[in-house]
């Protein structure tokens, strides 16, 4: 009696047919890899190699990309003791926290509103998504006109209702808020669509059951929608964090990092070290490595938290 299950187990794991299966020809086994090869080559040459070489470059001092002096960790020491870098890090953290919080909250809100919309859902979805299609340079220029203190449309409207003329782009505190708002406006459509897809994958029976139990709209939102949207929210959080740390192009055309460095974020700092005189490729690379480590760590933490919540 005791021997029977022991004998049955291997049979269940490996069916008899599997034993008889012939190994596929080498060509067939290689085919998937060959299909992947062109993409992996491009990815390797244009992404992996430059990234690894960027780390390598951060250990050297070079002003002309031809003569390189090995300096070990000196570039990291210099960058971490640079006052400008520290203020840039503070600006970046403030921007990322505000950008991620506002975009995630608004994307949930807009997704819920779009989901509830009976008529013209496609139209509103398209309108919300439109800024995503615009070039960041154009976004920066257009918002620069809109937010101009003296001639901008925003202040014209505020002026008509007696709210004065705030210096959106020339007062340091306001400028960072303006940059966050423009960043949110640019990405909101994309995040809302992801949230909308997440919403639509929630089983409608759950809401019907809640209706039968007499749950109100708020209860359904907090007890069904938000908990079940958690995996999607995690994706949006990770994407928004990465986009927040990478923000540069629209800010550069909107404020140029000003006033008085109030909107200079880490990518602009790296860009200026690498491409503006005096050129410091080593310092720029060290900045890039630090940025990569920060984004990687935050993403990893987000992912681990998400996985733990999924498991529970």
């Amino acid at each position: 009696m005791t021997a029977t299950p022991v004998q049955e187990r291997p049979r269940a794991r490996r069916p008899a047919t599997a034993k008889r299966r012939r190994p596929r020809p080498l060509g067939l086994r290689l085919a998937p890899y060959l299909f992947l090869l062109p993409n992996m080559l491009i990815f390797g040459v244009f992404t992996i190699y430059p990234a690894v070489n960027g780390f390598n470059l951060s250990l050297y001092d070079s002003r002309n990309l031809r003569t390189f002096n090995y300096v070990g960790t000196r570039n990291y020491e210099r960058i971490l003791s640079d006052e400008q870098f520290l203020s840039v890090v503070v600006n970046t953290l403030l921007f990322v926290v505000a950008f991620v919080a506002v975009s995630t909250t608004l994307s949930v809100l807009f997704a819920v509103l779009l989901d509830a919309q009976k008529r013209g859902r496609a139209f509103f979805r398209a309108v919300l998504f439109l800024p995503v299609l615009l070039s960041p340079v154009i976004v920066g220029l257009v918002w620069g006109w809109l937010l101009d203190r003296n001639t901008g449309l925003v202040n014209s409207v505020l002026g008509t209702v007696g709210l004065g003329q705030p210096g959106w782009l020339v007062e340091p505190r306001l400028a960072l808020s303006a940059v966050v708002l423009v960043g949110v406006w640019t990405h909101l459509g994309f995040y809302s669509l992801i949230m909308l897809a997440g919403l639509q994958s929630i089983d409608a029976n759950l809401y019907e059951a809640a209706d039968l139990d007499g749950a109100g709209a708020w209860r359904k939102l907090t007890q069904i929608t938000l908990p079940l949207l958690k995996p999607t929210t995690m994706v949006v959080l990770i994407l928004a964090t990465i986009n927040g740390f990478q923000a540069f192009d629209f800010i550069y055309t909107l404020t140029g990092g000003g006033p008085v460095g109030a909107t200079t974020l880490i990518v602009q700092f790296i860009y200026e070290k690498a491409f503006q005189s005096p050129i410091r490729y080593g310092l720029a690379s060290a900045g890039s490595v630090l940025l990569f480590l920060t984004v990687f760590t935050i993403t990893l933490i987000n992912w681990l938290i998400g996985r733990r919540q999924e498991a529970t």
Binding site: N53, F55, Y60, L65, R66, G167, G257, G258, P278
Partner: protein
Amino acid sequence: MRLRTGWRGTIVVAAAAVLLAGCAPGGGGDSGGGGQQPQSSGDFRGKTLTYLYFTDGPDEQATRDAIAAFQKETGAKVDLQIIPFADLEASLRARLSGGQAPDVVRLADIAAFRDDLLDLAPYVGKDYADQFIDGMVTAAKSKDGGLLAVPSDLTMNGPFINLDMFQKAGIQPPTNEKPWTWDEMLANADKARQAARAQYSFAMDRSGHRVSTVLSQFGTRLITDGKETLDQAKAEKAIGTLTGLMTGGKADKDFWLASGSKYKGANEIFLAQATPVYLSGNWQVSQFAKATTFNWKAIPNPCAEQCGGFPGGKFIAALAKSDTPDLAAAFIKFSTSKEQQTALDIKAQFLPTRKDLVAQGVSYTSRSDDMAAFLADVKRTAQENYGTNTSPAFGVAAKAVVDEMSKVVAGQEDVATAVRNIKKATDTRLKEVGE
């Protein structure tokens, strides 16, 4: 199992990084810098020369005409490669690094490429440089006295006035022989502003180069002979005057604060007739000749302790790695000859770098009075200012001027602190470039 595969990948990447870290990027490390033996100028027929160029606008056609004349005279072909000014340094570095260096290049800043430039003296003659403005030639000399570039065109900072506004206020503009003082200019600008009901009295490009004009007029400069020489009291007076105009509402404060660390021209403020005085430079003449709807005039720079303006300018140089150094040198000599420079200056409304043309003047076909105002200031400008402008530390010092002035305008620090910080940034950079 999945975890183990992930670790294996990590180890491979880390090993690659360590291997790469072991080898210096870039390989060769050849710094160029000469080694070419002068060749006798011979028949250039069939030879090709690449010329990396950025254009200020009106000079492009004049340069093409000069190239056509050179090609006709020598039978050589000149491949003109025009790129945006903003890309020049990065592009030239990349090309040098990739072994694709052009033969000839137009440069605004030769300091960054000193090690890569050909010593032209053996080709054009040791005395050739004596024909050009001394201050510019000093900047183009190597440590051992070689000639690394030839000054091709000169710019001079200086003010423009809205003539209609001044006429409304009943104020006559100054003559080239008797410039206004700073006090006179600001008082007259205020009157013109009030008469014309303009928004501001004064506008200036957001540029450390333009502020250097005012520093020089107040009797000090950022760098002299490779040393930081900003006089605290004089600089406070100069910078205090400019920031005071902004904080007092006589100049556009937002314009100065709104563009971060980037250069920004205030020409739109002048073109919109929002100010009677605009401090910029001679390169605006051809643009204003086309774009204005009012009467305007270039006037000589105002004087405080000193008169005159602050120079800028471009150089034409050959690369040491050129395959045809004799042809490159011949082209440079041809382009900077009296005949070609006269043609370029007339067509592009540039200022001459040749002493003979500065002395005799250039007969511009339009707006000649305005160009004469700038030319008059070339003679009044201190030769030391040329050295300041071409110092390898000037870019950083000029950026510090803009950044520190922004802090003063934003109310984050006082003028004295700003000047101290500018001095510190300049000194630090000078030590770096002297390493």
